[in-house]
Amino acid sequence: MESPTALVSLIIGLPLLGFLINGILGLSSTAYRSKKTLIGILANLAVFIPFLCALTLFLNFDSESAAAFAHLFTWMETGSFSVDIAYQVDQLSLIMTLVVTGVGSLIHLYSIGYMAHDEGFWKFFAYLNLFIFAMLNLVLADNLLLLFLGWEGVGLCSYLLIGFWYTDMSKSDAAKKAFLYNRVGDFAFLIAIFMIFETIGSLNFEVILTSLEAFSGNDIFWIGLLILIGATGKSAQIPLFVWLPDAMAGPTPVSALIHAATMVTSGIYLITRMSPMFVMSPEVMMIVAVIGALTAIVAATIAITQYDIKGVLAYSTVSQLGFMFLALGSGAFTAAIFHVVTHAFFKACLFLGSGSVIHTMEHVEHKLHDKGKDVHFDPQDIRNMGGLRKYMPSTYKTFLIATIAIAGIPPLAGFFSKDEIVMHAFNMGFGEYAGAMYFILWGVATITAFLTAFYMFRLTFTTFHGSFKLPKLINGTEGSEEYLHESPATMTTALWSLAGLSIVGGFIGLPNFVSKTFGGDGHINWLHEWLHTIAADIPLTLSGTAEWALMTFAIIVAAVSVYIAYKMYGNDQQEESDAWIASKFGPFYRVWKDKYSLDELYEGAIVHPTVNFSDKVLAVFDMKIVDGFVNAIAGTVRISGSLLRYIQTGVASNYALFLILGVILVLTILLF
């Protein structure tokens, strides 16, 4: 394959260019800000053209191709340490680039309609382009340092976009929370980078992965653990996941793009990239798997109790990310990436669908205000909805398709990826290290899959089936259903494209055993073939029969779950059914509803004691000693600055005096 430098420059450069054009022109000219069509088209092209470039690269690449490098320039160089702006095009980075730019393009398209009435339209698109730029740096980087820059860049953009409506206090708080939790993870990641550099003397992936023997077992464990902590921050896993649900405060396209499809999967990308190193430490693998499974079930149970349409989706995202971590921990790196891809499709579709719903509910509220009715309701609360399928058929159909996909019903995308993960977890049960633990994790995963189908159908049925409940719940909203409407074409186009991908997306990873059973060569899992040079997968050792049994079991679980959900929520019984669950599960339900009190736990276990301790003990120490010291230094600096300036008396002969002092100083140094 010829050098990809030109294409990579385009892929990386165009989003940056889009950001600069929209940012600078928007900042400097108010006239430009109102040209929303132009802004939207520019921003879209800045992502869509890179997508085409990535597609070109992809078509010229096959599973056996060696990685191609695009070294744009060396930023700085001293001795052995250099900062290279260099990109690596290989099977893994191509998949990620396609997802980022492809899903990114669709979400950009959707945003034109969604943000049409927002004042900060130009700013929004500038940020989105910047995000794409940072994300592409992250997935295409050929060294850890550049990856880290992209990693920080996406964090920054996420912070800016969550707090996009920064005038709303709770939203800027959510932004701060996301920022802080991410810093904890980033710090760990940075230490890991230092440790790697210290041992290998290079941060280049190729160099690191070919000189893994330089690490002691202990090093591998600690580096792996630190990278994992970094990944848990960015990919919202226990213990750092609490920021993600709050992050849904941002505009919905942001939730879809950043907090579902791309940024939050960067932790999975990073671990897959480093997979040859991770498989060397079974302990870390197990920790990864446990964290993943635990996050999956914790988030799924919380999701059951939520009423906020985006809240359910947020916890669902956390839960699905948990699945991906379980896959990583089970040595199924390909399956994790597979799930990243399919999840990007259906979750983006779900978020955008929810955005469409919220959009119309807000429209209803505005219309009512226009009519002079002073009513307030939460446009995101599913209890106010119901029966929307009549009014927004496209949104309904796409939402339903995506729900079926995430629930794991064949042959939609989610089924294949999730099944592969569960199967690998089961397979690891026969492994040498902590086998029993993996059987438990398999059980947890299966229960989570059941819960996933359940809460997703609960959400769909409550929102779209039955009757529109707002008029019954709130006075003054009678007849408001007439204001419900389908979203504009830019939005539905994006929805339908993503729904289509949710249907067919799974075919890139068909299970191999199916082919074997029917006399094939057992190589129908295209993704597996594609990534085999990069992902250090632990192979499946199960027999064909066992695999068939597991798959059938998974289908049954999902089907039963959907059936139960239909029975409980299919026809306006949301209130009674929630109450029934609450009574059945009693204390558990309360725990779920309180989100395991994790926010309070962090508050109570870490923040409060720290504050108390610092109040009582540290404060004294701080005030008397540390503060005193710091103030003394700062004070000395400021005072000496203030005093020194009075040397400058304004009289020229005094200046000459200092000049002569300088002469004496210079001559003294030279002559003696």
């Binding site: 002569i660 002092l661 004496i664 001559l667």
Partner: protein, 173 residues
């Protein structure tokens, strides 16, 4: 003979220099400086730099100092009683710094006489106009041209600064 002339001129130079610094009357100071420059020109003659001795008198004593005197008269600044610094500490520190600087320079002059024992015999010809002109327009052409720019700039600049209340809008004057 040379020695006596030197001592005479040296005393004259230093005396007139001190006179310039210490005299309260600005016109007197300027006249002391003229005297100082003339006596320095005499020392140039001792050093066999005839041409420069001539220019010293013409340019410095003749042109530059006349300009000084002209400005002093123009501004009517003859008496400076009030303009003498009253702060004693300043005299002391200035004197102290002067002594230190002088001693550092004198210290560095140690041993020069051994290296350069006498006036070079070539000076018979080297101090003449021909000798100077010969190198000035060849080897030192660059500096010479730069000096031309310097003097042009000085004349224009002096006009710019000294013009009184020139109205600057579009150079109407």
């Amino acid at each position: 003979m040379d020695t006596f002339i030197f001592i005479f001129l040296a005393v004259l130079t230093i005396g007139s220099g001190l006179g310039m610094v210490l005299n309260r009357n600005t016109v007197n100071s300027a006249l002391f400086l003229v005297l100082n420059m003339v006596s320095i020109a005499g020392i140039y003659l001792l050093l066999q730099a005839q041409f420069l001795a001539l220019i010293q008198i013409l340019v410095y004593a003749g042109a530059i100092m006349v300009l000084f005197l002209f400005v002093i008269m123009l501004l009517n600044l003859d008496d400076e009683r009030s303009l003498f610094s009253k702060v004693r500490a300043k005299y002391i520190s200035a004197f102290f710094l002067g002594v230190v600087t002088l001693s550092l320079i004198l210290y560095s002059l140690e041993g020069v006489a051994d290296l350069l024992p006498e006036i070079s015999p070539e000076m018979e010809t080297a101090g003449t106009v021909e000798a100077l002109g010969d190198v000035l327009y060849t080897d030192y052409l660059f500096a010479f041209e730069m000096t031309a720019i310097l003097l042009t700039a000085a004349v224009v600049g002096a006009l710019m600064i000294a013009q009184y209340k020139k109205s600057n809008n579009g150079a109407s004057e």
